[in-house]
C-alpha cells in the first residue's frame, strides 16, 4: 500500500527534487527493468547464456517505428503494436533458439552474440536496394504512444495536476513492468519453470526424465524475447527516434550485467541491478560538474571515469559477492556450500 503510494508519487518527487531529466531517467530505468526481467528468463531460469538479447529490443523498436511513423505512412494503434511486438520478437527468439539448441555454454554465448550483431547490421543496411529501415540515419518522427486517444507525447492536466509526457510514460511503463514481473513470478513457480531449472541443472538428466529440452528451451527464448520486444516498442514510442546505434553489443552486455549484479534468477535482484546500472551512471555524470566546481577545470573526463568505476564495481562484485546482491534461493545455495561449479557427470564410468 505504502509502496503503491510511493510508486505513484515517485515521478512528482523526482521532478521536484531533481528535475525533469530524472523523470526520463526513471522511465528508462523501467524499460531496462523489463529488459532485464526478459533476459533473466533465458539466463537466470533456463541457464542459457544469451549475449545477443538486445536484438529483440531492436526488433520490437523497429517494428513499432516502421508501423507508426511517416517512414511507410503507417500509424497503427498502440494496443495493436504492443502484442504484435511481443509476438514478432518471440518468433525471433525462436529463430535464434532453433540453431543453438545443441550448443552449450561458451558456444551458445558466441552464437547469440553473432545473432545480436546480425540483427543490428541488418537494421543498418536495409536501406538499399529497397529502403526499409533508413539505415544508419535511423527512423525519426515516430508516433508517440497514444492510449484511448490520449497521446502520451503531450502534457495533460487531470484534476488540476499537470502530467508531463515523462510522467505519463512513467505510469505506462510502471504498469507494464509490474505485469512483466507478475508473469516472471508465475512462470518461475510452475511446471515450465521447474523444467527450465532442471535443464539448467543437468540437461541430460532432464531429457532422460522426459523433458523435451528443445521445446522448453525455445519457450525460454521466446518468452524472454517477447519481453524484449515489448520494451523495444515502448522505447521507440517514448524516444520518437531510433537508429541501429542503440542496439549494440555493449547494451546486451549491460543488461547481462544488471542481472548478474543484482542476482540472477531472482526478480528483486534483477530489478535492483537494472535500477543501479541505469541510475548510477547518470548520477556519475555530475562528477564533471563537481570537478569544474572544485578544481575549476575537468581533470578526468566523466564518461571515462564512469566506465572505470563501473568496471571496478563489477570486478569487486564478482570477487566478493558472485551470487549477486539479492541472489535467488537456488543461487544462494549454489554459492554457499561449494567450491567450484560442478562438471556434469559423464554418461559412463571411466575405467577404474
Amino acid at each position: 500500500m505504502l509502496l503503491g503510494v510511493l510508486l505513484a508519487a515517485l515521478p512528482f518527487l523526482v521532478d521536484a527534487g531533481l528535475g525533469r531529466t530524472w523523470v526520463r531517467i526513471l522511465d528508462f530505468t523501467l524499460l531496462y527493468m523489463m529488459l532485464a526481467l526478459g533476459l533473466n528468463i533465458v539466463v537466470g531460469y533456463a541457464g542459457l547464456l544469451d549475449l545477443g538479447y538486445i536484438a529483440f529490443y531492436a526488433v520490437g523498436a523497429y517494428l513499432y517505428a516502421l508501423l507508426a511513423s511517416p517512414q511507410f505512412g503507417l500509424h497503427l494503434p498502440f494496443w495493436l503494436l504492443l502484442p504484435l511486438g511481443a509476438l514478432v520478437a518471440g518468433l525471433f527468439g525462436m529463430l535464434l533458439g532453433a540453431p543453438t539448441l545443441r550448443l552449450r555454454g561458451d558456444y551458445l554465448a558466441i552464437v547469440t552474440l553473432g545473432f545480436g550483431e546480425i540483427v543490428r547490421i541488418f537494421m543498418n543496411n536495409l536501406n538499399a536496394p529497397v529502403n526499409i529501415t533508413n539505415g544508419p540515419q535511423g527512423i525519426s518522427l515516430i508516433d508517440p504512444i497514444s492510449i484511448a486517444g490520449v497521446s502520451l507525447g503531450q502534457t495533460h492536466t487531470f484534476a488540476g495536476i499537470e502530467f508531463s509526457s515523462a510522467h505519463s510514460y512513467y505510469y505506462l511503463f510502471l504498469a507494464l513492468t509490474l505485469l512483466v514481473m507478475f508473469v516472471s513470478m508465475r512462470l518461475q513457480d510452475s511446471r515450465i519453470g521447474r523444467a527450465w531449472a532442471a535443464i539448467r541443472e543437468d540437461e541430460t538428466a532432464a531429457e532422460a526424465m522426459g523433458i523435451n529440452t528443445r521445446n522448453v528451451k525455445l519457450l525460454a527464448f521466446a518468452m524472454g524475447a517477447s519481453f524484449g520486444g515489448v520494451s523495444g516498442g515502448l522505447f521507440a514510442g517514448f524516444q520518437g527516434f531510433i537508429s541501429p546505434e542503440s542496439f549494440n553489443l555493449l547494451e546486451s552486455i549491460m543488461i547481462l550485467c544488471m542481472i548478474v549484479l543484482g542476482g540472477m534468477g531472482n526478480i528483486a535482484g534483477v530489478l535492483l541491478g537494472a535500477f543501479l546500472l541505469t541510475v548510477l551512471p547518470e548520477a556519475l555524470r555530475s562528477i564533471g560538474d563537481f570537478q569544474r566546481w572544485y578544481f575549476n577545470r575537468i581533470i578526468v573526463d566523466p564518461a571515462d571515469l564512469r566506465m572505470l568505476l563501473f568496471g571496478l564495481a563489477l570486478v569487486l562484485m564478482m570477487l566478493f559477492r558472485p551470487q549477486g546482491m539479492i541472489p535467488s534461493a537456488q543461487r544462494r545455495r549454489e554459492f554457499k556450500h561449494d567450491d567450484a561449479p560442478q562438471e556434469p557427470a559423464p554418461l559412463y564410468d571411466q575405467q577404474k
Binding site: V183, A197, A198, E201, N212, A345, L347, Y348
Partner: protein, 268 residues
C-alpha cells in the same frame, strides 16, 4: 520364488551393437524382458552395461540393432520420448538436479505426464492449480515410498549418498514407467540400506513395474532377480536363472580372468 519370466515380452532388443571408434562396447546383444519381471544385468567393469542403458534410453544411438518396448520401436527416439513411452532410468553416477530440493526433483519427473503450459502458468486457472496440487502430492507419496520424505525440502546434493540413489528412483518413478532401469542402485549403500532397497524393488514389482537391474553385488542380484544376463566385453555370454548363471563356466571365467581378478560376489 514366483517366476515372472513367462509373461508377455515388455522390452526386446535384437542384435543391439554400439561401436566407439574401434571399441565394440556392445556387440549383437539380444534380450527379452517380460512384464513384471526383475531382470539382472551383470558383468565385469567396462563390460558395456551402462552403454546398454544409454542405448535403450536414447542417450546413445546404437550402431546396429533394434529396441522395442511393448512392441513400439524405440530406436531413433529422443530420450524424452523414450521416457514418455514408459522406460525410465537412474544413473550410475548420480545425476540429480543438485540445487533443487528432493521434492522438486521428483516434481520434475512428473513433467512428462502433465501438461500445464505457459498460459496455465500465468493465469493459474482451475485446471493448472489442480494439476500442480496433484504433482505435489504424488511427489510426496513417491518420496515416502522410497523413504526420503524426511528430506523433502533439503537440497538433493545435501542428501546422504544412499538417499540420493533412492531419490533418483523416486524421480524415475514419477515418469510412470512400465520398465524401470536401475544402474547400480546399491552402490555406496550400507547393508541396512541394501535390505531396504531389496524390499523397495520387490514392492515396485508388485505394482506391475518391470525392473532392469545392473548390479555388482551378486548376492543382491541372485536373491532378487527372476533372470540374469551376463555381459563381457560387450557380448552376452550367459542368460538364465540366477543359480544356473552363477555356475556357468564362461561366467566364472569372465570374472576370474578379468583384469580386476576379483571373484564373483565381490562388489567392484
Amino acid at each position: 520364488m514366483t517366476s515372472r519370466s513367462d509373461g508377455p515380452i515388455l522390452l526386446e532388443t535384437r542384435g543391439l551393437s554400439k561401436q566407439f571408434g574401434g571399441l565394440a562396447a556392445l556387440h549383437a546383444v539380444s534380450l527379452n524382458i517380460h512384464h513384471g519381471e526383475i531382470f539382472g544385468l551383470i558383468g565385469p567393469n567396462g563390460a558395456g552395461k551402462t552403454t546398454l542403458f544409454n542405448c535403450l534410453t536414447g542417450l546413445y544411438t546404437p550402431s546396429a540393432g533394434e529396441v522395442r518396448l511393448d512392441g513400439q520401436r524405440l530406436n531413433g527416439l529422443k530420450p524424452h520420448t523414450v521416457a514418455k513411452q514408459g522406460l525410465a532410468r537412474t544413473f550410475q553416477n548420480i545425476r540429480l538436479f543438485s540445487h533443487m530440493s528432493a521434492l522438486e526433483n521428483v516434481m520434475v519427473g512428473c513433467h512428462v505426464r502433465t501438461k500445464a503450459n505457459v498460459l496455465g502458468a500465468i493465469f493459474r486457472n482451475r485446471g493448472t492449480r489442480d494439476e500442480e496440487a496433484a504433482i505435489r502430492s504424488k511427489a510426496h507419496e513417491l518420496l515416502k515410498l522410497v523413504g526420503v520424505d524426511k528430506h523433502a525440502h533439503s537440497l538433493a546434493k545435501h542428501l546422504p549418498y544412499g538417499d540420493q540413489r533412492r531419490l533418483e528412483i523416486a524421480r524415475a518413478l514419477a515418469t510412470e514407467p512400465k520398465l524401470l532401469a536401475l544402474d547400480e542402485p546399491a552402490a555406496g549403500m550400507n547393508p541396512a540400506e541394501r535390505v531396504a532397497l531389496i524390499a523397495l524393488i520387490q514392492a515396485l514389482r508388485a505394482t506391475g513395474i518391470a525392473i532392469l537391474l545392473i548390479e555388482h553385488d551378486v548376492k543382491l542380484v541372485m536373491g532378487l532377480c527372476d533372470r540374469v544376463a551376463v555381459l563381457d566385453y560387450g557380448e552376452k555370454i550367459a542368460e538364465g536363472a540366477p543359480e544356473a548363471v552363477q555356475r556357468d563356466p564362461k561366467v566364472i571365467e569372465a570374472y576370474l580372468g578379468g583384469s580386476i581378478g576379483g571373484a564373483i560376489g565381490q562388489p567392484a
